[in-house]
Symmetry: C2
Subunit: 330 residues, 2 copies
Amino acid sequence: MKRETNLNPTMKDVAQESGLSLATVSKVINGLPVGKASRQKVEAAIKKLGYQVNNYARALKSNKTYSVALVLPSLKHPFFAYLTDELTKSLMSRGYRAILMITNYDPDAEQKSFAMVRSNKMDGVIALTYSPDLEVGDSISIVTIDRHLDEDIPCVSSDNFRGGELAAKKLIDLGCRKLLFMRITSRIQGEPNKRCAGFESVCQSRNIDYETLLLMDDEPEEPIFQFLENHIHDGEFEYDGIFCNSDILAGQVIRFLSERNISIPDQVQLIGYDGIIDRLTDSYVCSTIEQPIAQMAETAVNILLNPDENNAGANICLPVRYVSGGTTKE
Amino acid sequence: MKRETNLNPTMKDVAQESGLSLATVSKVINGLPVGKASRQKVEAAIKKLGYQVNNYARALKSNKTYSVALVLPSLKHPFFAYLTDELTKSLMSRGYRAILMITNYDPDAEQKSFAMVRSNKMDGVIALTYSPDLEVGDSISIVTIDRHLDEDIPCVSSDNFRGGELAAKKLIDLGCRKLLFMRITSRIQGEPNKRCAGFESVCQSRNIDYETLLLMDDEPEEPIFQFLENHIHDGEFEYDGIFCNSDILAGQVIRFLSERNISIPDQVQLIGYDGIIDRLTDSYVCSTIEQPIAQMAETAVNILLNPDENNAGANICLPVRYVSGGTTKE
C-alpha cells in the first residue's frame, strides 16, 4: 500500500534552511572537510527537513551503484540458503545492497541475470551457476563460487580436494577397508569434482580397495539405489565405508540402508560433504566435511569489492574440517 | 575482478548508427509506437553497438526504481528460505529486482532496513519482522508477512486459525482423546498466535481434554523438555496427540520422545505446522499443516505492486491443508 507521500526536500532546501552555501552542504553530504560549526548547522537542517540522499542520483554521478547481484539456482537447498544468508550480511555490512536472482538451474535465466547486472549497472556479481557455456561478457566484475567460468575470473570454494582426502583418511583410520564414493554430479566442470580426486588419491596411496559411483543430475536416481540393493547380501553391505559428495545424498543413503536394517555406524560408516545443520534437530545430519560458508562469503565479497590483479583467475580454496555427526564410530 | 571495460554507447550513438532521430530511438526504447521499418533499424543499431538502457537514469526520470526490499530475519530457517526463494522469483517475473536484507532478528537492523528502503527510493518492501515497535514511517509502500505493523498495512499469512482447527480435528478423528498444544513464541503480536486459538476452539466444542504449553523464544528451551519428561510414566506419555506450532519444534519433540522409546504414531500422534520438506529425504518431516508459500509470495507481490485502497489494512489468510507425514496414523 502506498502511504501518505512526504515532501522531498533537496540539497537546495538544506542550504536555505542552514543559511549556508550549496557547496558547503554538498561537502557535508559527501564527507569532505568543513568547519565544525557549519557541519552542525547542515546536519541540523538535514534532520529538520528529513532530507534523504538520493542514491540513484549519486549512482549516476559516481558510476557506482553500491549494489551486487547474487545469482544462485535456488534457496530450497540448505547450502545455497546458508551461502546467500552470509553473502547478504557481508555485503550489507559494507553498505552494499544484495540483489538476489534465483535462476532455478535454468541456463537462460543465468544468462539473463548477467545481462541485468550490466543494464542495471551493478557493481558486480557473485554467481553459482550450472550452464556449461555461459557468456560473461566484458565490463562485469564477477566472482564465482565453485565454478570456473573463465580463466581470469576468481573462484571461491572450499578445499574440495583436501575434503576428499580427509574423508578417506578418516574412514580408513576408523577401520574401513572397502570404500565407496558416491556422487550425483552435473555435467559442468566444477570445483566439487575434486572431492573424488582427493578421496581416490588417499585410497591409492594407502592401497585400500575402493569404488566410485557417479550419476548425472539429469538422470533418474534409481541406478544409485539399485547399486546399493545389489550389494546387500544376507544383511551385510559389501562396503564398510561410504563418502557421499553431499549431505543430501548421504541422507538418502542413510535412509535406504536403515530401512534394510544395515546398521550405521556399526556395519557401515558414512561421511557426507557440506556440514548442513538440520534445523529440526539443530545438529549435523551426518558425519561430514564442513564447508566454511561464512568465510567463503566474506572472501567472495572481499575479492569482488577490492579487485587485485593478482587475484585474476585465482582459485581460492578455504580450509574444511571433519565433524563427527553420528554416522561414523567417532 | 574488473574485466576489460566496454565503450558505453548512448542513445545518441544509436540514433547516429540507425540514421534516425533521437526521438524515434527514444520511442523504441520506451515501447511507444513507431513504424516497423524504423523499429527494426533501431533494434539492429542497439544490437550492433551493444547499447544498454541505463536503469538508474530511467529511475531518476520515472521516480520508479523497479526494486523491492525483502526484509527477513534469516535464511537459515527453511520457511524463510522457501519464502525468499518464491518472493524473489515472483518479483523477477515482473521485471523487479529483489533487494535482500537479512536482519538476524535485530530490531535496530529492521528499523535501519526501512530507512534504506526510503533513502534508496525503492518501490516498496515485503517484511517479516520481530521488533515489537517498528516505525514504518510515511512514504513507504509495505506489505507484511504474518505481522500487523500498522492498521493500514496489508498482511499476508496462511490461514492460521483454520490450521489450528484442522490439526485438532485430525487428531481427534484419528482417535486422540488427550491433546497437547506446544508453541515457542515471540513476544510480538503476530498472525501465528491464531494457531492456538483455532486448536482450542475445536477441543472445546468437541469437549476434548487439552493443555497448551507456551514458551517465549527469548527463554531457554529446557522447560519444554522438562514438561515432556515429567509426563512420561512407565513408558507411556500422558497425551496421545500433540500439535506443535512449527515443524522445527515438532522435530525436536519427535526426537525427544523417540529417545525415550515412546512410539510415534502408535502411542502418540503428532502434527506440526509449515509443511517443510526435508531436503535430505525429500519428504515432509512430520504430519503437518502446510502453508501455501508460493501463493503467499505471489499475493504479497501482487498487493505491493498493484495497490488498491480496499486492501488497506487487509489481512489476507490463504488456505492451508493437512498432509500426512508419518507421525499420525493416516
